[in-house]
Every structure is written in structure tokens, then in C-alpha cells.
């Protein structure tokens, strides 16, 4: 993510800072959090250093309740193991997720629809793809079993789409295979149901999902965006009736932690100029 510097009173911050702080605020203390690579990892470590000192961090590659002192470049990084309760492998991480221990997972996506279905596999017809992406990774696995998942995404109209090219990660209305019948997530997952997408943090705003309908609504706008502008940036009809104002800005303490303590080398979060 390129640095784009904004001003908040005396403070300079970048868009990545805003997203990181918004993501950190999704974490509650004592929660078990499944962390992916990149900005989410910084967000979680930020939460750990501020309001959620007792959160427990799980890295998919096999580190349980770790306390890294240097930011890992990936979840398989040697830096993940520092201070961990247990180091093992993927079996542990996924068993723990399916067993229902995980409160919160942070994930990414290339496309999202109004029910929170996310695509990270291929753009265009899957059988004739315009662009093959990285694939699912653990995105659907974590999203299947965590009580809440938060997606962090670049906001473009083509990405907030009426229908994702491919459902990589399950939202609130999904398909029951082998027939492909549309069905509510809650119903399909049966005893394994524990929740689902609870927020999308895009480069334009923060979005949540209606408990009943499972449809996305706008919660807060990032500085510089109106609800109407954001609605215009979605292919589907975005509910903007519940908007709760502006996304809270990074504080001085948060910016200090991000740029001086957690990611001083700007591995994932560029320094504001």
C-alpha cells in the first residue's frame, strides 16, 4: 500500500494507519485471534499493546498464543515463535479453528458481494479466467469457523460487486452443494455455525452486516468520503441508513506504536511522509 499522507490536527497519518487502527478496534480483550500476514498482523499487535493485552494470537502455520517482538513477514516466519505457548503446525491451527476456539479472524479479498461472500481465487469466469489470483489459502477455513471475521479490502466499484466471480470465502448467503441451492449460512453450517463476516474495512469506510438479512450496511465513512459517494462505489444497493459518522482517526499513541514499535522498517505500513 503506497503512503498517502493525511493530517489530523498535529498528526500526520497514512491511509494504512487508518485501516490498521480501525482493524485493531475490532479486537476485544481476551479473544483468540487468527492472524494473517500483513496489515492484520500489525493491527492485532497494536490491539495487544493497547486495549487487548490478553488477546491470544494464532498463526496458521502453527504458533499458538505467540508474542513476537519483531514483526513477522509471514505466518511461517521464524519470528512468529517468540514467546509462544506452543509451536506446532497447521494441524493444530485448523483443529483449533474447527473446534470453535477462534473468536476473530482477519482476512483479505479481491471482491466482496453484499452478503460478504469474498473472492480471492480468480477474476472473471472461473473456467476462462481473466486473472488467476493466489487462491483461497486459509481464508474460507478461518471464515467458516471463527465467531467473527473482518475483511480488509481496497475499495473499488468493481470489487464491491453484485456477484463475486467465485465464492472463495463464505458470507451470509451461500450455496448448498452439490445442487448449488441458495441457503443461509447459519442453516448450512449446522452445529459448526458460530458466526461469520462481521465487518469489512475498505479504503473508503467500515461496513457491517445486518443480523437478520445478512446484508451489508455502511457503519462509518473514512475522512473525505460521504455515505452517498461510498454507495456509488458499490455495484449493489448499499444500505447507508445506519451510518454512524466518521471512522475514528489514529491517535498519537497508535501512530507511535505502529511506526516506532511494531513496524519501524515499514514492512507493511508505510511511514507518513
Amino acid at each position: 500500500m503506497a503512503a498517502d499522507t493525511r493530517q489530523s490536527g498535529e498528526l500526520k497519518y497514512g491511509l494504512a494507519d487508518l485501516l490498521t487502527c480501525a482493524a485493531a478496534r475490532e479486537v476485544q480483550d481476551n479473544e483468540i485471534v487468527f492472524a494473517g500476514t500483513g496489515l492484520p498482523m500489525v493491527a492485532i499487535m497494536l490491539a495487544q499493546k493497547t486495549h487487548a493485552p490478553n488477546l491470544k494470537l494464532i498463526f496458521e502455520a502453527g504458533t499458538l498464543d505467540g508474542r513476537p517482538t519483531e514483526l513477522p513477514t509471514s505466518v511461517g516466519d521464524a519470528r512468529c515463535e517468540v514467546g509462544a505457548s506452543r509451536s506446532s503446525g497447521l494441524h493444530d491451527a485448523f483443529s483449533i479453528a474447527q473446534r470453535g476456539y477462534v473468536d476473530l479472524g482477519f482476512l483479505g479479498g479481491a471482491e466482496v458481494d453484499e452478503y460478504g461472500n469474498v473472492n480471492t481465487t480468480a477474476i472473471g469466469d472461473y473456467l476462462e479466467p481473466q486473472l488467476r489470483l493466489t487462491g483461497s489459502g486459509g481464508n474460507p477455513d478461518i471464515n467458516s469457523f471463527a465467531a467473527r471475521t473482518v475483511f480488509i479490502m481496497v475499495h473499488e466499484k468493481r470489487r464491491f460487486t453484485r456477484q463475486v466471480s467465485y465464492i472463495t470465502s463464505p458470507g451470509w448467503r451461500v450455496k448448498k452443494w452439490p445442487e448449488g441451492t441458495p441457503v443461509a449460512r447459519r442453516e448450512l453450517y449446522g452445529a459448526a455455525y458460530r458466526g461469520g463476516p462481521s465487518a469489512v474495512i475498505s479504503t473508503a469506510g467500515v461496513f457491517r452486516f445486518d443480523d437478520e438479512s445478512g446484508r451489508m450496511y455502511l457503519d462509518t465513512c473514512h475522512p473525505g468520503y460521504t455515505p452517498e459517494q461510498i454507495a456509488d462505489m458499490c455495484q449493489f444497493d448499499l444500505d447507508i441508513t445506519r451510518v454512524g459518522g466518521e471512522t475514528p482517526l489514529p491517535t498519537a499513541e497508535e501512530l507511535h506504536l505502529i511506526h516506532r514499535v511494531l513496524d519501524p522498517d515499514a514492512i507493511f505500513i508505510p511511514h507518513p511522509q
Partner: protein
């Protein structure tokens, strides 16, 4: 009955058409020295079944070694956000990709390691990963039972009969010919000690019919057997051993060396096109052997990657953007 062989002998154990998998996780502990050797040997029609992909898959796919790739993810993490070679070959229909989720791929290896034909799961229900239209091996007519590595179905669905827990998906075991591991230590009888995260290495070694271990060092068995609780893989699961220093380069190894991000970024940037890949391979693969590659990388770069032995990772490399 020594299990020691050379890197070239190891490459000969992976013939054309082999169903192959690897140790490691994304850009960590991949058996790259053998991957380079397979490219040099111009191996063809490989069938990769990987818990998740990484540089090893991209190198082999770019070189045209791979016909089928079954996995869930490909890329270079921070150093290259997707698998550009795979993406190109998919668009050109030169490779069959079968998508599973990460947990499902792990379960496929776990089932194979446990000697059972499938594993149940409730992961990824409702996604297009389970869409029967997207069963690519089925579409290619390869699920007729003729290929022992390809199950008759991509998935089967059933309802839980025991606790009314809902829909269950059955995922087929992965039938792997050869697993190539890259680890810190192996004893001369085959005991493997892995430091740091073990990823899915234990499942991978047990799942494969033949397991080849590339180790940074071969150490006395007796040393490893003094502390059996620290060992990851028992002797009888290991068929062949290759002592190969920096065998994981340019991927990283806990306690030994970091990922060479510059190498991966250079690969990622140069290999969007086939011409780009061929040019890169002419520079970094074909004219070299493992020793030659390390010489070309040079002592300075290798020393910077060396892990600090207290911290288990390098403190000398620049990782930031």
C-alpha cells in the same frame, strides 16, 4: 545400508509424471536445491499436490515441469503477491488447477498419512470451492480411476448421521509418490529433527510412498535419540537423505537463514512472461549447480541472511519496503 544419496540421485527418484509434494510453508523450508535440479533435468508432467504452494511451485510451473497442480494458494508472500507463472499457464490452459481450501489440503495429506481414503470436514461449506462445475480433473476426464493419484470424485457430501451436525464434506486422501523435505537435522538412520514451526511436514512425510530428506546437516543418530521428544519424523518414514547446506535457499529456515526476499522479488518481477521466465532461468538455473548458485549469490548476501543463533532469525537483512 546407508540412506545417503546425492542431489542428482534424488532428482532421478522423481521421474516424469511423478506425483510430488514438499515440506515447508509458503516461503519457508522448501527443498529448493532439488527443485532447481528438477528444472535442470527438464522434468515433465509432474503432478504437484501441495498443502499450499510457493516459490517451489512457481519455479517448476514456469519451467513447464508441471501438468497438474492441486492446492489452495500460490505466491511469494511479501515478495510477490500471486503466482504469475501459474496465472499465465492457467490462462493458456497449459496446466490443470484443482482448488481446495487450505484446511482441506491439509486434511488430504492427513488422511493419506493415516492410511484412510478420505477425511470429513465442515470447512468452506457454501463456497465455489465445492462447486461441482469447477471440478477440473473431472472436466478433463481424469476421474475414471485410471490414474492412481486421482480420486473418482473431488468431493462427496453427506449429512452427519451421529449428532445432526449438518452438512459434511468428504475430502479424498492425497496419493503422493514422493515427498521432498528440507529440514535442519537428520540422523544417519533417518530421524528428523525440525526446529521452529513444523508446518505440515509430519503429515507430508508419512503420506508419501517415498520420502527424501534434504538436511542442512547429517548428525549422529545417537545425538538425536538422546531427546526423542524433540524429533519430528521417525527413521522408517525416511527413505533417502541428502546433506545439502542452504538447500532451502532462497526460502528461509528457522534458526539457520532468512528468506532472500530480493531473490524472490526479482523472480516475481521478471517472470510475468514466458520469455521473462526463460531469461531468468538461463541466468539462475540451467548453467549452475547448487554450489554454483550459492557462489553466484555470494558470501556477502549469504552472511547477511544467516540467522542470529539466539533469535533464530537474521538481524542483518532489510525487510522493509
Amino acid at each position: 545400508m546407508s540412506k545417503r544419496i546425492t542431489l542428482q540421485q534424488a532428482a532421478a527418484l522423481v521421474p516424469d509424471g511423478c506425483c510430488l509434494t514438499f515440506s515447508g510453508f509458503t516461503i519457508w523450508r522448501r527443498p529448493m536445491a532439488l527443485v532447481f535440479e528438477l528444472i535442470r533435468a527438464r522434468r515433465r508432467h509432474l503432478h504437484l499436490v501441495e498443502v499450499q504452494g510457493g516459490p517451489q511451485s512457481e519455479f517448476l510451473i514456469g519451467a513447464g515441469c508441471v501438468d497438474i497442480w492441486e492446492s489452495c494458494w500460490i505466491g511469494h508472500e511479501l515478495y510477490g503477491k500471486y503466482g504469475a507463472n501459474l496465472s499465465r499457464k492457467v490462462a493458456e490452459k497449459k496446466i490443470i488447477v484443482e482448488d481446495y481450501s487450505h484446511a482441506e489440503m491439509l486434511l488430504r495429506l492427513e488422511a493419506a498419512a493415516a492410511g484412510i481414503p478420505f477425511a470429513p470436514s465442515q470447512s468452506s461449506l457454501g463456497t465455489d470451492i465445492h462447486n461441482p462445475e469447477y471440478d477440473m480433473l473431472g472436466r478433463a476426464g481424469l476421474r475414471n480411476g485410471d490414474n492412481p493419484h486421482i480420486p473418482r470424485h473431488k468431493y462427496r457430501f453427506m449429512d452427519d448421521p451421529f449428532y445432526d451436525a449438518g452438512q459434511i464434506v468428504l475430502v479424498p486422501a492425497a496419493k503422493i509418490d514422493v515427498a521432498v523435505m528440507c529440514v535442519q537435522q537428520v540422523g544417519e538412520e533417518g530421524t528428523v529433527r525440525i526446529s521452529g514451526q513444523r508446518y505440515s511436514d509430519q503429515e507430508v512425510a508419512r503420506a508419501a510412498d517415498v520420502t527424501i530428506v534434504l538436511a542442512e546437516e547429517v548428525v549422529p543418530e545417537e545425538y538425536l535419540r538422546r531427546d526423542a521428544e524433540r524429533n519430528a519424523i521417525p527413521t522408517f518414514e525416511v527413505d533417502h537423505i541428502v546433506e545439502c547446506k542452504w538447500g532451502g535457499y532462497p526460502t528461509g529456515m528457522f534458526g539457520r537463514y532468512d528468506v532472500d526476499g530480493d531473490f524472490l522479488r526479482d523472480f516475481y518481477q521478471r517472470t510475468r512472461t514466458q520469455e521473462g521466465f526463460d531469461d531468468w532461468a538461463q541466468e539462475w538455473v540451467y548453467p549452475l549447480d547448487h554450489a554454483g548458485l550459492l557462489e553466484k549469490v555470494g558470501v556477502k548476501r549469504l552472511l547477511a541472511l544467516k540467522a542470529n543463533t539466539a533469535l533464530q532469525y537474521s538481524t542483518s537483512i532489510k525487510r522493509g519496503g
